[in-house]
């Protein structure tokens, strides 16, 4: 189990697989550069990301805002109901626009930042500790709370398991999302207690209902100060009586509870299975899962050594793993712009696309996160992918009707957004950037080059024939025709696979 991939199997194909899964893919040049390194060095170039300098600027509003929040609270308190509602609505609009900016900020880090693996881990943790703005927005300055959680996942991306659980549990957005901040000893709220065992650390069947109620008691006192937008511990909320959780008895706190959770052998199995599934695209066999769990526990529950072992292992490069996962919508969008070397659509368009495809960042469907895999593909989302491909390739959103846009943008303001989208032209694919004049002039070379860049594989014979028939119908290939050819390749089942 988990033996290193033999040296002779480290090549362009396996390097492509690594960059696709550990990051968000790239150009043929990127894959070549990676495959020219030793396998270990290639992995280190992604996973030891701390060494890579980064100069991202945080959003201007990414800080607690005591004064503004207090002023707002006072104003709302003193206003008549109509004005109070107007003020709250205005705050909601402000936060909604910031969330949009935040989505763009994060997508840009994934698509253009120097640390794609770190961002892939952030995406994993976001789906794991799935927290949604749809509830957090009830708090003032909510965009900051979502940004702060995102930064937490970035800071601890490959850190220690218990530390992640505790910090994620005490994170303001999480405290609000799972109601923990309001839990008090008289009536402990079970939401976080239950989900932390069921969905974050152990899985169903590895704890009892008594463990849930006892853990809820232990967690009382973890709370949140809306005015300061920070965690606080409230001793007057805490139940200091004796509890028994997962076999441990004492005056347990929230930290004690999570430490006891991580002491369960199941805690390592649970998280390593989920990580393997996220990166390899399928659940590990029990034996592989056990081996992965041992790597985690033998390395002090640090994730970085685990990731290196995974990316080095033969199992990760098995035939049943390579090109046998469905691209997530984020992978599809970010990966497409990377391989086409074209700009990300502006945040409100990217955001609408991702929402339509089923992966609204900062708004997962529920606390379980996105199911992933084949659940990304329905008749509806597949056609959406084929149509959104035109948006990316042409750099315009003219494909989207106002009606469609309204749906994708969440039902409101669709008309206005669609009109705006009609006017936007972000460049799309710059043909000379991705194809040589020779490739553009020779239809055979063109088909090969498109397959190489877009699929890292080939189309079936009949699909290739369809593409050639289309190209043959043109005497001279204009850039617009080549862009259509790119979109056609993106409108195949093959393109949805990574």
């Amino acid at each position: 189990m988990l033996n290193p991939l033999p040296g002779e199997r480290w090549n362009y194909e396996t390097a492509t697989h690594l960059l696709n899964r550990a990051g968000f893919g790239g150009t043929p040049g990127d894959f070549q550069r990676l495959s020219d390194m030793w396998h270990e060095n290639a992995i280190a170039s992604l996973v030891d990301y701390e060494k890579i300098p980064i100069s991202t600027v945080d959003p201007a509003w990414a800080h607690p805002d005591f004064q503004r929040v207090e002023a707002l609270r006072e104003a709302v308190k003193n206003a008549n109901p109509v004005n109070a509602k107007a003020m709250r609505d205005q705050e909601n609009r402000l936060q909604a626009s910031r969330i949009l900016e935040l989505r763009g900020w994060w997508l840009d880090r994934m698509a253009n930042g120097p640390r794609p693996f770190q961002e892939k881990m952030v995406l994993f943790w976001h789906g794991h500790f799935a927290t949604s703005i749809d509830k957090v927005r009830n708090m003032p300055n909510s965009a900051y709370l979502m940004w702060r959680q995102n930064e937490l996942f970035r800071r601890l991306a490959t850190d220690n398991w218990l530390r992640l659980l505790i910090e994620a549990g005490r994170d303001p957005a999480m405290l609000v999302w799972l109601d923990q901040w309001q839990s008090r000893k008289e009536h402990p709220n079970e939401n976080f207690a239950r989900e932390s065992m069921e969905l974050f650390a152990l899985g169903e069947g590895h704890y009892t209902e008594t463990d849930v109620t006892e853990a809820a008691r232990a967690l009382t006192g973890w709370s949140y100060l809306p005015l300061y937008q920070s965690f606080t511990y409230r001793p007057e909320y805490h139940d200091s009586g004796s509890k028994t959780i997962l076999g441990l008895t004492g005056n347990l706190t929230g930290e004690d509870f999570l430490a006891q959770v991580v002491r369960q052998p199941q805690a390592a199995r649970f998280i390593t299975a989920k990580i393997w599934n996220f990166f390899a695209g399928q659940m590990p066999s029990p034996a592989l899962n056990q081996a992965l769990a041992e790597v985690l526990t033998n390395n002090g529950y640090q994730f970085k050594p685990l990731m290196k072992v995974m990316f080095r292992s033969e199992e990760f490069y098995a035939d049943s793993v390579i090109r046998n996962d469905v691209k997530s919508p984020v992978q599809w969008l970010v990966g497409s712009t990377r391989m086409l070397q074209c700009p990300l659509p502006p945040p409100f368009i990217s955001s609408a696309i991702l929402r339509g495809l089923g992966q609204d960042l900062f708004a997962p469907p529920n606390v379980k996160g996105w199911d992933g895999g084949m659940s990304w593909i329905t008749t509806n989302t597949l056609l959406d992918r084929y149509n959104d491909a035109a948006t990316i390739v042409n750099g315009t959103a003219q494909q989207l009707s106002p009606d469609d846009f309204a749906r994708k943008a969440g039902g409101k303001g669709g008309d206005r957004l669609a009109k705006l989208a009609q006017r936007i032209h972000v460049g799309g694919v710059d043909v000379p950037k991705i194809l040589t004049p020779e490739q553009c002039a020779d239809k055979n070379q063109l088909v090969d080059a498109l397959e190489h860049r877009l699929l890292q594989s080939t189309l079936s014979e009949d699909q290739e024939k369809g593409l050639r028939d289309f190209l043959s119908s043109k005497q001279v290939l204009a850039d617009a025709d080549i862009k259509t050819a790119v979109r056609l390749v993106m409108s195949t089942p093959e393109y949805q696979v990574v």
């Binding site: 709220n189 209902e209 084949m374 008749t379 009606d403 696979v497």
Partner: protein, 453 residues
């Protein structure tokens, strides 16, 4: 016509063999014919022919998040109820009384009117043994009809399609939404998903579309009968995807089939292409004849009414309404949701009556669990167990079915009411009395079918 048969056969071929993708896109005619004849010989006697004009139709309505049944069908005369719910309890004055003890939540005027007109059955205290209080696990149990200590991958609707509708048009199952619910999962999954018919298509100029169809193997059947409007078609109605709820549409998904994911995507692409023209054509042609609330559920049911009116050959539609996970400040939220539920369903019934299709349609609601009898400190309720199921139709056994579970503290289990009716008895009743098929092969064993029609 001949071409269409070839296409149909090819699709069946892809569905029915794991080798489907290994073959080239163009299936030689002699081979297709052989497969077609083999398949008709092997056809199971339980196979149901779906025409779209005379079969019965089931609409499954998911109330996602765990609806508080006690504040929906309210035991307003019970002291136990009022003691457990000092803050959020519904009073005798606020409920819509069904009898001297029980009433609907005051916001459910739509349901009250359906109840009074004999179109609504309330199945009281529906649940299952050893209830699970996790959203995901309990939803999975409802979706797969499994026992609570058994994990089943495939869904009860998927198994119905598998055993009764093999080879049917992919629109035999329609999900209004983005995601296939687990109840549709099957070794060979059947059913299509869409939100907005107007854009349920490959949007491109003619030449690009032709190339796309050639590349995706769907040009053989031709799209000569394409009658749907372009992107301007439809009536501007759209259905928002998941509304802003901490628990939206709950679907637990793992790969449904073994093998390469590409095969699964190919099949989905083919289903999308085959259903797209028809769905758009119906949605742009058929007019609604009732006024619906402008909610996600209202829009979903509006679309379903059109598709029924237009004769889409569908046996099961699936719609969902999210937001029932009311841990805090439940009153305002639940009121809004229940009003929407009642009003949307009432409009749907009115619409179908105006169409003359109501006698063919049955609506069944479900929620993954009810909530604890005692309210919590945040004027909300936590995850509980049994809850009512609603069944709407022309021929339902209207009224209160079963009996209201006891709220006496001694009768509770871990703070929850005990179920009286196993949800699989409700499913068995729907399968046997409404969809007219044997329930045991679909539900794994024979449950006493609840007589609902």
């Amino acid at each position: 016509m001949k071409n269409e048969i070839t296409l149909q056969t090819r699709r069946e071929f892809l569905r029915s063999t794991i080798l489907g993708s290994a073959l080239s896109w163009t299936v030689p005619a002699f081979l297709a014919n052989t497969i077609a004849s083999l398949q008709s010989e092997a056809a199971d006697s339980s196979t149901q022919i779906v025409t779209g004009t005379d079969n019965t139709i089931l609409v499954v309505l998911q109330m996602a998040g765990g609806n508080d049944g006690l504040n929906t069908v309210v035991p307003y005369s019970s002291d136990y109820y009022h003691r457990a719910r000092p803050t959020i309890g519904q009073t005798a004055n606020s409920v819509l009384k069904l009898n001297g003890d029980i009433g609907f939540h005051g916001a459910m005027t739509g349901f009250k009117s359906l109840y009074d007109s004999g179109n609504l059955a309330v199945v009281q205290g529906v649940g299952y043994p050893n209830p699970n209080r996790s959203h995901f696990r309990s939803t999975e149990i409802w979706q797969t009809a499994s026992d609570s200590d058994q994990v089943e991958k495939y869904g009860w609707i998927g198994r119905y399609f598998d055993s009764c509708c093999a080879g049917a048009d992919p629109t035999v199952g329609v999900v209004v939404g983005n995601q296939l619910p687990q109840s549709f999962y099957a070794p060979k999954p059947t059913g299509v998903c869409f939100n907005n018919p107007a854009n349920y298509r490959f949007l491109a100029n003619q030449q690009t579309e032709a190339a796309y169809q050639e590349m995706n193997g769907t040009d053989m059947g031709g799209s000569g009968d394409m009658t749907g409007g372009g992107s301007g078609g439809g009536d501007g109605q759209s259905v928002a995807s998941n509304s802003g709820d901490s628990i939206g549409m709950l679907a637990a998904a793992q790969p449904m089939t073994g093998g390469r994911v590409e095969d699964f995507i190919e099949r989905t692409a083919l289903d999308a292409q085959m259903s797209s023209d028809k769905v758009r054509e119906i949605a742009s042609r058929v007019q609604n004849q009732a006024t619906y609330p402008t909610s996600q559920l209202g829009n979903s049911l509006k679309l379903v009414a059109k598709l029924i009116g237009g004769g889409l050959p569908t046996r099961i539609y699936y719609v969902s309404q999210g937001g029932y996970d009311t841990h805090t400040q439940q009153a305002a939220r639940q009121k809004q949701l229940l009003a929407d539920l009642g009003d949307s369903t009432k409009a749907f019934v009115d619409d179908l009556k105006a169409q003359g299709n109501m006698q063919r349609v049955l609506v069944m609601t479900f929620s993954e669990f009810g909530r604890r009898v005692a309210e919590n400190a945040n004027a909300g309720t936590d995850h509980g167990a049994a809850a009512p199921v609603f069944i709407v139709g022309n021929k339902v056994r209207a009224g209160l079915l079963g009996r209201y579970p006891s709220l006496a503290p001694d009768d509770l289990f871990e703070g929850d009411i005990k179920f009286n009716v196993d949800f699989r008895s409700v499913y068995a009743g729907v399968l046997e009395n409404w969809l007219k098929t044997k329930s045991a092969p679909i539900l794994g064993r024979q449950f006493p079918p609840l007589q609902i029609v």
